[in-house]
Amino acid sequence: MAEDFKRSRILLVEDEETLAVGLEYNLTEEGYIVQWAKNGREAVDFFKKGNFDLIILDIMLPYVNGFEVAEKVRKDDPQIPILMLTAKTESGDKVKGLEKGADDYLTKPFHLQELLLRVKGMLKRKSWYKIASEKQPVYKFGNNEINFEMLNCRHGEEEIRLTPQEAMLLKYLVERKGEIVSRKELLENVWHLNPDIETRTVDIFIARLRKYFEPDSSNPVYFKSIRGAGYMFEEN
């Protein structure tokens, strides 16, 4: 099982040569197959040609920046996990990255172990999700129909495609229907992050799910906020 994602193909998008060489070495040592794109334009080209399992994406890139790359990638492939790597520390940039379709982010300078664990975690979750969704591929609530396998959803007449992180969060909430799930629990189990820091991440993803599936996202009926406790998925 652990070896399943060993030969995963990773697209490394980083314009700083020194950092890219070091990352490429370490990822290759871990058993991944790495392709290095030096700028945003190259990243989009490589992505279209290659069949990748994960993207490590810097934000400040020549020609096409990381946000734009994420957007372009998401249009073609909602499933591929994207890990954003950024030297920017303003939380606005992190939020923007997540909104543009990144699943996780790491700020520079980072620890090698943390990066490798996150990459491994993302690939592991991807394969876990694949197995979990095969068991119960389609789920319906209200006028929404979710295909967890294909990440295709239908909201009334509207077709929506979910990102893997959105789908994983949704699956986690659906499996705990009627239960209150705290942000801490979500961060630990869906993101595998240290819950002391990034609780805002959960809120952004919940807002995304509400936008897709709620009849009125400002008055949620399915994805309810429980004050001081977290969130709850409910089906009336």
Binding site: E16, T18, L19, V21, G22, L23, Y25, N26, E29, G40, M60, L61, P62, Y63, V64, N65, A87, K88, T89, E90, K108, P109, F110, H111, L112, Q113
Partner: protein, 333 residues
């Protein structure tokens, strides 16, 4: 984007303030004129012998002058505020750029150190990693130096190792070094000189000048950078013409590119990294050599030419020689 919004917001506030101000002025004039007759009557009753003359209009005129003065001052304050806003915006950008420029090499060094600590790295890879780390350390050092030296230069406290050099040799050497540093292949640059003449220059300072010009030529070229440097000597000055075939500088930007923190944005090459200090520093260095730098570009996409004029050693005044030689002596001690 945020800056534009805040500027618009301030202009709006200013216009509203002026409207309120003028309406108050109008009201005051209206009140004064309509009450003038009442004042007159009251005055007549209280003191019938009081003579009305021009002096009575004095408070009114003084009031008007005061109001005009106040409006003028408000506009001045507003203008000043606008300038301050623009500087703050540039400064914010600078801080964010510098943070980025500091963090990138730092994360790379940290990555290599952790790699060397955690893995059994083969000997030749180890050497490669150490070279990479040294490159990053150099980058950090030159960034920190540029910030510190600018501050010293502004306070005129920077001591330079001035010396007398043959212009063609020093320029050729420095261009070779810079091109090697920024990976411009030998066939992509050339240095020509029509005659040999001497200049008084700080070698390290001139190196900063050429490093910046070459770095810019590389960063602002869509294809490979191509650089042509030519040297023209006459009895009074040495002119160094540095041309590249990069994206050029729009005419309206040409005056601004030497400003502190100023950076140009070009849709052909977005997201070029930098601090906005490079050309400012170049200009300051050339100024400290009693020289002049100008930029010429026919516009976007047509390449850029920098013209540096330095006084020839033989044409230097006693005052200039004393200024530079004094430092030279100081350095030799």
């Amino acid at each position: 984007m945020r800056g534009k919004h805040s500027l618009f917001y301030h202009i709006l506030i200013f216009i509203i303030a002026q409207l309120v101000w003028l309406s108050l002025l109008g009201l005051w004039i209206y009140w004064y004129v309509s009450n003038y007759i009442v004042f007159e009557k009251v005055g007549e009753e209280v003191s019938p012998q009081l003579v009305y003359d021009v002096q009575n209009a004095l408070p009114f005129i003084l009031g008007l002058i005061l109001l005009i003065g106040l409006s003028f001052t408000t506009s001045l304050i507003f203008r000043h505020l606008n300038v301050q806003l623009r500087i703050t915006e540039l400064y914010d950008n600078f801080i964010s750029n510098v943070t980025h420029e500091l963090k990138s090499p730092l994360s790379s060094i940290q990555l290599y150190l952790e790699t060397l600590k955690q893995r059994e790295v083969p000997q030749e890879k180890r050497k490669e990693f150490i070279d990479m780390m040294m490159k990053d350390a150099d980058r950090l050092q030159s960034l920190i130096n540029s910030i510190l030296e600018i501050s010293a230069q502004e306070k005129k406290k920077l001591l330079q190792d001035y010396g007398v050099y043959k212009a063609d040799i020093i320029v050729k050497d420095l261009i070779d070094e810079s091109c090697e540093k920024f990976r411009v292949a030998k066939e992509n640059y050339q240095v020509t000189s029509d005659a040999s003449c001497e200049i008084v220059a700080g070698k390290d300072a001139l190196k900063v000048v050429f490093d910046n010009l070459v770095d810019n030529a590389v960063k602002y070229s869509t294809l490979k950078a191509e650089i042509v440097v030519s040297l023209i000597c006459n009895s009074k000055k040495v002119t160094i013409v540095f041309s590249d075939l990069g994206i050029g500088v729009a005419v309206k930007e040409q005056k601004k590119i030497f400003n502190k923190f100023y950076r140009i944005y070009n849709k052909e090459i977005p997201n070029v990294k930098g601090t906005g200090l490079g050309l400012y520093r170049v200009k300051e260095i050339i100024k400290s050599h009693d020289g002049k730098i100008t930029v010429l570009s026919e516009g976007e996409g047509k390449g850029t030419t920098f013209k540096i004029e330095l006084p020839a050693y033989t044409a230097m005044s006693n005052r200039q020689l004393k200024k530079f030689l004094k430092t030279e002596k100081l350095n030799q001690v």
